[in-house]
């Protein structure tokens, strides 16, 4: 550990070059650093080099018409406090508020959260429900992937060697909601979380469930049962039951399988109703 080196590349190209040297696991990227240091303290990771992204120009929030592009190294708290976020993306706002604490969110980033791809991430379900795109840049240039093709499994992403997440793009504002169940309301991770959103452009719903390993997932079978922007109670209950039956869920020390299924059902109902009843929902 005392042989660790720390580099702060001044440009994107320099950062990419740093990543290409060294074996896998030897180089760690530092955005906010909260997850990295947590892993280092628990001796779960032992990189030889840390590449800090602090000098890269990615601490940005860009509203361009309907499209929101968030730079990957923007601290979550800055996004949380953006004056437009709570009204245009209420579900995303709620999910960010659920992450850790204010102090943590002063350093934690969207890019870091995505890159870590923890099954307990509070942000990935909302990104799925908002059809977010992950913009990457690497040795072969720039590319982007929808979130569900970016997050491949528990702590596994589609990032190729040398690639970095540059930004996350949200194509349109959506009435959305984020509902979770945890042991305590603050400074905790969720046993189950649900992100619900209605896409005005597609005229259809997005339902994503988080907290179940290996990764947050959308439930298209349940989404298909919500037939309009104002689904009936029967449709809502049907979608919730379908999702609860369909998902693969295991028992772990945080919650049993039966309880998690029950929570999926309950929280999907609540999240959908919250969207319908929200100021921009149900239209």
């Amino acid at each position: 550990m005392s042989s660790l080196t720390f580099v702060t590349p001044a440009s994107v190209d320099a950062a990419i070059a740093e990543l290409r040297t060294g074996e896998p696991g030897e180089v760690a990227v530092l955005a906010g650093g909260t997850a990295l240091l947590f892993a280092l303290e628990g001796a779960k990771a032992a990189p030889r080099r840390v590449v800090s992204l602090r000098r890269l120009p990615w601490r940005t929030v860009d509203w361009n018409g309907p499209v929101l592009t968030v730079g990957s190294t923007l601290p979550l708290r800055s996004l949380e406090r953006d004056p437009e976020l709570a009204t245009r993306h209420p579900g995303l706002f709620e999910a960010i508020r659920a992450v850790g604490s204010v102090q943590l969110r002063h350093r934690a980033t969207l890019g870091g959260n995505l890159g870590r791809a923890s099954p307990a991430s509070d942000l990935i379900p909302v990104l799925l429900a908002l059809d977010a795109e992950v913009e990457m840049v690497g040795p072969t240039g720039a590319r982007s992937l929808p979130v569900d093709r970016f997050v491949l499994g528990s702590r596994r992403t589609a990032l190729a060697p040398g690639e970095l997440i540059r930004a996350v793009r949200f194509p349109e504002p959506r009435p959305s909601a984020y509902r979770w169940q945890r042991v305590r309301p603050a400074n905790d991770i969720s046993q189950i979380a649900v992100a619900a959103a209605f896409s005005p452009s597609a005229g259809s719903w997005r339902l994503a469930v988080g907290g179940i390993p290996p990764r947050g997932v959308r439930v298209p079978e349940a989404e298909a049962m919500l037939l309009s922007s104002r689904p009936t109670e029967a449709e809502i209950r049907g979608a919730a039951e379908r999702a609860a039956r369909h998902l693969t869920i295991a028992t772990d020390r945080r919650a049993s399988e039966e309880y998690r299924r029950h929570l999926v059902e309950t929280l999907i109902e609540r999240a959908v109703r919250a969207v319908v009843e929200s100021p921009k929902g149900g239209r």
Binding site: F6, G33, L37, E41, G100, Q103, A186
Partner: protein
């Protein structure tokens, strides 16, 4: 490879540091290199808030921050709070409300609250402030006296 020298401004004073390993955490630099023990070592996993400091005025968990990552920043610790009118007001309110017992969480709370007042404005509502203090754990007081201290602080906000 010798790590580069590192400049931090700590409580208003420049503190150049040599030979800080890349793996060193800000909490350890503050406590052991700078000798400022007021910032407390609690959980080292970012869950208790006892290590809270201000980095360029922004509340930060020093246990989850590599020192080199904040090279060039301005750092404020509990020891610097009395030099700032907001810091003094927070300390005064906590003192009058008796909002502490063992004192281990106290520096973290004071610094976190000063950070929040900077961020939300001196006249932020009590509810907003309390909602944003969930990252600071206390085991002795049950938080009620801390909530009263915040209420007292804001009642007397200029």
């Amino acid at each position: 490879m010798t790590p580069p020298p590192l400049l931090l401004t700590v409580n208003g004073r420049p503190r150049p540091l040599e030979g800080v390993p890349a793996s060193e955490r800000l909490i350890d630099t503050i406590r052991w290199r700078l000798g400022l023990k007021g910032t407390k070592d609690g959980c080292r996993t970012g869950d208790c808030g006892a290590c809270t400091v201000l980095v360029d005025g922004v509340s930060t968990l020093s246990c989850l921050t590599l020192t080199h990552e904040v090279e060039g920043s301005s750092l404020s610790t509990i020891e610097g709070m009395a030099e700032d009118p907001v810091g003094r007001a927070v300390q005064e309110a906590f003192d009058r409300a008796g909002a502490l017992q063992c004192g281990y969480c106290t520096p973290g709370f004071v610094v976190a609250l000063v950070g929040l007042l900077r961020e939300r404005g001196r006249a932020a509502s009590v509810d907003e402030l309390l909602a944003d203090l969930g990252g600071n754990l206390c085991r002795c007081t049950g938080y009620l006296s801390i909530a009263r201290a915040v209420a007292l602080l804001q009642k007397e906000a200029p």
